[in-house]
Amino acid sequence: MIERRKRTLLLVFPFIILLIGVVLSTVLSIQTYRKIAFEHISAFCEIVLDQSPESEQQLLADLKEYHSLSEKELKDNIFLEKYGYRADEFCKGLPVHTFLFPIILFVATVIAVVIGMFGFRRQNRKRISELTEYLEQVNIGSGGTLIQAQEDDFSLLQDEMYKTVTSLYQTREAAIKAKKSFAENLANIAHQLKTPITASFLSLQLMKKDTPNKYADQVEKQLERLNRLEESLLMLSKIDAGTLPLKQENVDLYTVLNLAVENLNDLLQRDGITIDVPDNGCIEFSGDMEWTMEAMMNLFKNCMEHSEPGGIVSCDYSNNPLYAEVRIWDNGPGFDPEDLPHLFERFYRGKSAVGYGIGIGLALAKSIIELQNGTITAYNLQNGGACFEIRLFSH
């Protein structure tokens, strides 16, 4: 309430100054007018009496008559014009203060208006910057608060802003919740799928043990494929729902690459391929070891699929102040130029795709790397091999 009164005062202040000035100048000019009339008559009488002292009685009688006249009766008296006198020839050399006062009054009023406006605008600007700051905080997600300390012209706007922001928050929370429950449902279904897959897989193993036949092998392969699809479904649903629990810890790239290779060991031995991890010392980035390893495994797998038996898949890692970089490449035929723009698209199966892939591995790797503030690009080396380049930015 005090604030409001202050604002009203600020608005009224110039007018008060103006009013005081007008009243004062009116009073002053009446007084000056009286004083001048008195001084002039007095001086005139003195001159007359000096010239002819004998007419004193007559003059005093005339003065008495003049004194009794009201302003109204004196108004528009032009008697002296007959003798060639004019009003603007009177009062020569008026004192300066007569003009000074209205000027001071004017300046004071102007200053008062300026101060009033300035104060008013400053207050408005402060409120606007408060509201702007609030919106900025909401935008960067730190959830600022608005404290309604006073009621003013902006209160209504502030109220509406607050309501809008709150309803946006609610909408967002509802959306996140829906997304989460969707992911949970998917995860649940994916887990449920595993039970029949496991049951059929186990029954099949028992069947194979009793009566080995080629159809059992085919069913087993399909079951394995089904299992991989189910795992991909689970992982993609988690990434889409944003519920992938990515950690933020210091991860050593050498360890990630080595663990990826070690986990691929069975596949590598089966295909007779070696992955060479050079020891460039400890280079750390902030991220999630498990998922980064998953991404690397997918990239290695892609390179392995395009390598001849006995081939070598190479990798290298380095860093600079901006980012840590990992390169993974093979000596195969390289990417088909037509595939290059679509490599990381989900379910995209390249022209040279091999095996039972369903086009998820590279998309998954890209998602994982991008979630960790990184980029991934693919290009063909000059000698023909395919190369993936990953950059993990530190800021």
Partner: protein, 223 residues
């Protein structure tokens, strides 16, 4: 004879595991609910317990903690559809000795059970074996076949921990703590990876030293 208690709510899976393990000379009892297996455990202790994570009347990890409170040495293996690293870590934290993700190979399950049971005595022996590797605690020496392999102090320590825990998974964190931190020498992941890689190279990349995804390393006989 190995006596197995198996908590599993899916009848076909339970039956298949039972059938296979009984062919391998084990005795298997399948329980469809946590309450049943608790009751049975209070009467009689089996050699090993297999646990499914999702049970109709509760979570397998609750049962696992419950068992650990009473019998700290009873071997427990999780058999579950949950293959994510977080779940696996939770499983081990609750006191599981091993973790098998469904769908699994019956033969692998059997060998895991055997590996788990073999390890219990080995900590007291002065000579530890795994495939053709031999570690002599008295001489502080490592042999591959007949040939002695020169290993550094941390490499020896890692091998010792893994062989003493044969059949059991040892986490990278455990290795870091026991090999380096305990001597006040704090190192990072990189050192462990480098040491592990050198050790593997010196031993000729033995098949019995496995990397366990999301968790750590395990040694176990492959033959």
């Amino acid at each position: 004879m190995i006596e197995v208690y198996y908590a599993e709510d899916d009848e076909i899976i339970g039956k298949s595991v039972k059938e296979y393990l009984e062919q391998q000379d084990c005795r298997v009892t399948v329980f469809g609910a946590i309450a049943d297996i608790r009751k049975a455990l209070l009467n009689h202790l089996p050699t090993v317990i297999l646990l499914d994570w999702n049970m109709p009347d509760g979570q397998g990890n609750e049962l696992c903690s419950w068992i650990r409170e009473r019998w700290s040495e009873l071997p427990i293996i999780y058999l579950t559809v949950r293959g994510e690293s977080d779940d696996i870590v939770t499983g081990f934290q609750n006191g599981a000795d091993d973790y098998v993700v469904k769908p699994f190979d019956l033969a692998i399950l059997h060998s895991r059970i055997q590996a788990l049971l073999r390890r219990s005595k080995s900590a007291k022996d002065t000579k530890l074996f795994c495939d053709n590797l031999m570690l002599d605690k008295e001489k502080t020496a490592v042999f591959c076949g007949q040939q002695e392999i020169t290993v550094s102090q941390p490499e020896y320590q890692i091998l010792l921990i893994l062989m003493e825990n044969k059949g059991k998974t040892v986490t990278r964190k455990q290795l870091l703590e026991q090999v380096w931190d305990s001597s006040g020498n704090y190192v990072n992941d990189n050192t462990l990876t480098v040491t592990m890689k050198r050790l593997r190279e010196k031993l000729g990349g033995p098949a019995c030293l496995k990397t366990v995804r999301s968790f750590g390393y395990r040694m176990g006989d492959t033959k």
